[in-house]
């Protein structure tokens, strides 16, 4: 049980660090309440590109004027017309741990099909595509 307590405490520490990551981003990039954050934590090329492909649709659907794309340094993407922020992988992990604990802002999308954010069970079934999933599961 002691080991478990240490493990839980390490998650809490990670979430505290994650909050610090968020506050740094908020300050550095002057993030406002109406801006949206889209996080790309996974090295899933197909999913990530589907998310980028449908990003314009998401912004239009939700009347969002500014979006910040946050990548971990595994997934560095250059040349996007949107604000792109690259953070270290461990910072992304901490930021996600923070998000898993609390909805620290309204508009935040995590591009992931991993627990607890989602799964890919429905993709490919009954004609449902990855783009369908992105537009109607993630970008809602």
């Amino acid at each position: 049980m002691e080991n478990f307590k240490e493990k839980l405490d390490s998650y809490f520490e990670a979430s505290r660090r994650g909050r610090a990551v968020w506050k740094e981003i908020e300050k550095k990039y002057h993030v406002l309440e109406e801006d949206s954050l889209v996080l790309f934590p996974d090295n899933d090329e197909k999913l990530n590109y589907a998310a980028l492909r449908n990003l314009g649709g998401y912004l239009k659907k939700k009347y969002i004027s500014r979006v910040l794309l946050i990548f971990s340094d595994r997934n560095i993407i250059y040349g996007s017309k949107y604000q792109v922020i690259n953070i270290k992988e461990d910072m992304m992990r901490d930021l996600l741990r923070y998000y898993r604990l609390t909805q620290f802002r309204e508009k935040i999308v995590v591009i992931s099909m991993k627990e607890p954010f989602g799964n890919d069970g429905i993709i490919g079934e009954k004609g449902i595509t990855l783009d369908d999933y992105v537009m109607n599961a993630l970008y809602v």
Partner: protein, 436 residues
């Protein structure tokens, strides 16, 4: 899901305030979204002599149909045609983008009444104090999980059922056996948060069953959301129910039903998975005794189930009473499945209540069921009798495309109708003819 008391008061207070100021006088009134709150808003407006003219909704599948007896229209199309001034009532967590959309329609002929409800006024916090509170919650959730877990073998998996809908439990348990085999799970505990759910799960003779209150269920889910399956042997048996989970909004996908969401999203199966229906005790004489006691005719009784836990139907009790009278003229005896003070029997019918484990037997002994779509319909879906199910257009909780027993593969002989107030007489007639 129904409107909470807090939200009801919010709606009433807002509408009273603006009605007394004359906001609705001389203007059309629209509600934005076929939402959970729409009926409450409509009923409240009626108290001040205002009827809604239209419901605006961005869902193209709903446009052109009706909801609450009024047309549903895409916002853009409505404002292209609409010349009179209109008040648009918004009541949604998506209120910001709804207002933004209405602004782009660039029309000065509208006024917007944005009613704040719990889901839209929930405070988003990134303070240190807030984080500490969430940490305490996660700790508490883990302790509750641990208390349950220690009562069972070490390798036990806890299956959490986040929502207290009996239909959700039924669907989850339908595929549980196949999932246990697939994942080679030997010991498990199904954890539910309502007595009705416990009784539903019992039908499937699950290995271990625990009942916790709703708050403890949410705490466990929050803990699992933070710590994950690498730390907690937990699997939620629903495709939604925790904050960060994303799932396909199947509004635009008629090929996806409630059943498919369990098959694909919850359990990761394909269409070939076998359903494991609960076994029925054919030797039980419960139904025979019930009918004798209630003076109901075997095989010539219609049981009505006019109540649904997840939505309030537009079909009033007068309509059910009229239906009952029509059936009685055809020689049927009619009973109402009801329980407790809030569920009154349809006037002129016999009140009956029977446990879930006897439900299939009772219905087969009766001969017929007419029911609002609810979890009860899933529980009795295997009954060999005339099953007539009523859905309602416009509301997610009763949507035919998503919850049809036939489309879900639960019963191919079921007769299904989509109820609309303006077609009530026609539907009643069809129901009576279908019953025979």
């Amino acid at each position: 899901m129904k409107v909470s008391e807090f939200d009801r008061k919010q709606i009433q207070n807002c509408i009273r305030q603006y009605a007394e100021q004359g906001m609705f006088n001389g203007r059309n009134t629209a509600i934005f979204g076929c939402t959970l709150y729409a009926r409450e808003i409509r009923d409240c407006l009626r108290q001040y002599g205002t009827e809604i003219d239209v419901i605006l909704d961005n869902n193209r599948d709903k446009a052109g149909k009706t909801c609450l007896g009024v047309p549903v229209c895409l916002p853009e199309e409505y404002f292209q045609q609409q010349l009179k001034e209109v008040v648009v009532v918004i009541c949604s967590k998506y209120s910001r983008e709804m207002r933004a959309q209405l602004d782009t329609l660039g029309d000065k002929r509208k006024q917007i009444l944005d009613i704040p409800v719990e889901e839209s006024i929930r405070k988003i916090e990134d303070s240190w104090e807030n984080l500490q509170e969430r940490i305490h919650e996660a700790e508490a959730g883990y302790q509750i999980y641990d208390q349950i877990k220690t009562q069972y073998p070490k390798d036990s998996v806890l299956f959490l059922c986040p929502y207290s809908g009996t239909g959700d439990i039924y669907m989850a348990c339908l595929y549980l056996k196949a999932y246990l085999e697939k994942e080679k799970i030997i010991h498990y505990v199904v954890v539910v948060s309502a007595e009705s759910c416990r009784k539903t799960a019992e039908l499937f003779k699950v290995q271990n069953l625990e009942l916790v209150n709703g708050e403890n269920m949410q705490l466990m889910l929050k803990a699992w959301e933070c710590f994950g399956s690498e730390t907690m042997q937990v699997k939620p048996l629903l495709y939604w129910g925790w904050r960060t989970k994303r799932y396909l909004y199947a509004d635009s996908y008629p090929q996806i039903t409630f059943n498919e969401m369990f098959v694909y999203d919850v359990f990761g199966f394909n269409d070939n998975v076998e359903k494991n229906f609960p076994s029925i005790d054919r030797k039980s004489d419960y139904a025979e005794k019930l009918f004798r006691h209630s003076a109901l005719k075997p095989h010539k009784t219609v049981i009505m189930a006019p109540y649904a836990g997840s939505f309030d139907s537009e079909m009033g009790m007068d309509a059910w009473e009229d239906l009952a009278n029509k059936l009685k003229k055809r020689g049927w005896t009619v009973a109402t499945n009801c329980c407790g003070e809030k569920e009154l029997p349809v006037r002129g019918t016999v009140p009956v209540y029977f446990p879930y484990k006897e439900a299939v037997n009772v219905l087969q002994y009766a001969g017929g069921l007419i029911a609002l779509r609810s979890g009860f319909c899933d529980i009795v879906s295997q009954a060999k009798c005339k099953l007539i199910i009523l859905y309602e257009s416009g509301f997610s909780a009763s949507r035919y495309e998503y919850f049809s027993l036939k489309k879900m593969g639960l019963n191919q002989d079921v007769v299904e109708f989509v109820y609309e107030k303006r077609k009530e007489e026609e539907i009643k007639q069809k129901i009576v003819e279908a019953m025979g």
